[in-house]
């Protein structure tokens, strides 16, 4: 390259750099505020959407960041809460929280706006990653609005039927976000009503109505002394919130027509409220689906020569919906039908001999087509069912129920067999759980 060309090139490059630098400088004066506003909007957009109009955030808005929790003064923040922002004028807080259910491909991302008084301004889902088939927003478009104006007690906020896992995961995430604010004295705790406290007892009292602590129920119309009521999706029974005098009580009726009454502390107060039990039983009797007939048919099929079928009354509140004793020759057997929660509700049949050892185990349908594509073909189902034979309550660990790649079916089988053993024990005690 000639010297003049070299100088010309350098000069030209410098001029071009200078011209573009000047152009960028000029343009930046005009665009910088707009870009800054856009960035702020992108960052705070979902948060501002759950706060009242006019809300804003300043530079110190972020008071908790799960990425660097050590830099925050907030403590006892559950892992589901990813960030907490304080609104600049003291209106309240915006919380980013995630929810995960068994149908999540990734955590749901949620933004929650809460007033300084502890009332929910608004809540929205920024990213929904659960199965579209169970999208509770589509099943109940008004569901999110039931959270608005509620305090941490979330009175009258339920879950969405047909989308129980996803909506429960969502509700739990909101509760955890509220609890994080309460634990750090940022908002006051809401006071739960008696019927809320009683319904929270239900998964412990009536295990057949829940799956992994999640209620599997649908609401029923209340009448008489009933404030509200729910029916188990697996037909294992009913639960009612009822009043007598000043007391608000939980009345549970199982599939065998046994009723029990509990107060808000979880104490069994059945003896003091016999009339409530009768009222609840009458309602349950009129609405209960009986599994006696199909269960008897299955026991007869499983045990050749089964005769003298006798229905057994039980006061267990599990997934067992039918129980019979019968005889094969001189020997007495006990058959139980449990309806536990797998991918769908599974009808599991367990037959025990007089010593309490399993003789037969069967299921109406072990795998559901939508669930495990290959397991249905891969698992030797007769061998799987036979693997329970000979087990007693003492030797039962739950391991026999495990099927690789079929967690939900495994859990359902585990629950059903556990409930059958509990029912057998109750039969031995004259129908009562010890």
């Amino acid at each position: 390259m000639k010297r003049t060309d070299l100088i010309k090139s350098i000069a030209l490059l410098l001029v071009i750099v200078a011209v573009f630098s000047a152009a960028m400088f000029g343009l930046n004066i005009h665009t910088a505020p707009l870009i800054e506003a856009n960035n702020a909007s992108a960052k705070f957009g979902p948060l501002l959407a759950v706060l009242p109009e006019g809300a804003s955030f300043d530079a110190d808005a972020l008071i908790y960041d799960a990425v660097a929790p050590e830099g925050s003064s907030l403590t006892d923040v559950p892992p589901s809460v990813t960030a907490v922002y304080r609104e600049a004028s003291g209106l309240g807080y915006a919380v980013r929280v995630t929810a995960t259910s068994q149908y999540s491909s990734a955590p749901m991302e949620i933004s929650l706006g809460v007033s300084a008084e502890g009332k929910i301004f608004n809540v929205q889902i920024d990213s929904y990653n659960d199965s579209e088939a169970f999208d509770f927003r589509a099943k109940d478009p008004e569901y999110l609005s039931t959270y608005v104006d509620k305090d941490s007690a979330l009175t009258d906020v339920g879950t969405v039927a047909g989308s129980t896992y996803s909506s429960t995961a969502f509700k739990t995430a909101v509760e955890e976000a509220m609890n994080a604010l309460i634990a750090n004295s940022l908002i006051a705790e809401g006071v739960k009503s008696d019927d809320q406290l009683l319904m929270e007892l239900l998964p412990t009292i009536f295990t057949g109505m829940s799956n992994n602590g999640m209620m599997q129920t649908e609401e029923i119309e209340a009448s008489g002394n009933m404030l509200s009521g729910v029916k188990a999706l697996n037909d294992s029974g009913f639960a009612y919130i009822m009043t007598e005098g000043d007391a608000t009580l939980l009345v549970a009726v199982n599939a065998f027509g046994t009723g029990k009454v509990f107060d808000v502390e979880g104490n069994d107060v059945t003896d003091a409220h016999a009339s409530l039990v009768e009222e609840a039983k009458a309602h349950a009797d009129a609405n209960q689906t009986s599994y006696e007939e199909p269960a008897v048919a299955r026991f007869e099929k499983l045990m050749e020569g089964a005769a003298n079928m006798q229905p057994l009354p039980l006061d267990t509140f599990s997934s067992v919906v039918a129980a019979n004793s019968f005889q094969v020759g001189e020997d007495t057997y006990y058959g139980f039908c449990a309806r536990s929660y797998g991918y769908d509700i599974m009808d599991v049949y367990v037959v025990l001999d007089a010593s309490g050892a399993i003789v037969k185990t069967d299921a109406k349908k072990l795998f559901f087509d939508e669930e495990y594509f290959n397991v249905d073909d891969d698992v030797d189902q007769p061998a799987y069912k036979d693997s329970f034979t000979g087990l007693t309550q003492d030797t039962w660990t739950g391991d026999n129920a495990l099927i690789a790649g079929a967690t939900m079916t495994s859990n359902a089988m585990q629950q059903a067999v556990t409930d059958a053993f509990e029912a057998f024990q109750a039969v031995q005690n004259g129908g009562t759980v010890e």
Binding site: M1, D5, K8, S9, L12, L13, I16, V17, V19, F20, A23, M24, L27, N28, H30, T31, L34, I35, N38, N39, S41, A42
Partner: protein, 202 residues
């Protein structure tokens, strides 16, 4: 040369240029809004750089044209990026790094090389605009196929009746290359047929 430039803005040029811009066409064609945003950026970048390079062509030393072209193209792409960040932030989010990467794309550079040899400014501008519009058209075409069939939406609005029939792979990288390959094949076929016909006539 003039004739060559005129004919270049046809399917012939598309067949030649498309592989050079395959990367950003693929990256920008998953969504119609992104395709139009990138299209506008390509038109502006090629047009403005063509105008400046054409005006400076006589004083750019032949051995220094590469850094000077790149500097000019990069400068315009940076200015366009700033403008789009200010006025079309959503489109910038969709395009991500690909908008800035336009600065080092072979398309504006190839166009710059073309126009530097031109003597007629109007032809230069026409060439640049046609190159830009051609790429925009290809990106929009790909985006229409990918967004509608791959994502069951158009301009971000869901098409409910298509939701159950969408082919998700089309909105991913594989789908991007597949659609681009089909469009490329169609253009090449048209180009080959036209060329054969022309040779036959000659």
């Amino acid at each position: 040369m003039k004739n060559a430039t005129k004919s270049s803005i046809s399917h012939k040029e598309a067949a030649y240029l498309l592989p050079l811009g395959a990367g950003f066409v693929m990256a920008s064609s998953a969504d119609l809004r992104a395709a139009l945003g990138m299209g506008a950026a390509v038109i502006l970048a090629t047009f403005l750089s063509a105008v400046v390079i054409s005006a400076l062509r006589k004083i750019i030393p032949s051995r220094a044209h590469l850094p000077i072209y790149i500097l000019i193209i990069t400068g315009f792409v940076s200015l366009i990026d700033m403008m789009m960040q200010a006025y079309f932030p959503n489109v910038v989010n969709m395009l991500g790094v690909h908008l800035a990467a336009l600065a080092v794309s072979a398309v504006p550079y190839r166009n710059a090389e073309d126009v530097a040899g031109e003597n007629v400014e109007t032809t230069t501008i026409k060439t640049a605009l046609e190159t830009g519009f051609l790429f925009t058209l290809i990106m929009v075409l790909c985006a229409l196929i990918r967004e509608v069939l791959g994502n069951a939406s158009i301009w971000g609005v869901s098409i409910e009746f298509l939701k159950d029939y969408r082919v998700s792979a089309l909105s991913g990288v594989f789908g991007g290359y597949l659609v681009l390959a089909i469009v490329f094949a169609v253009i090449r076929t048209i180009h080959d047929k036209t060329t054969t016909k022309k040779e036959g006539t000659d």
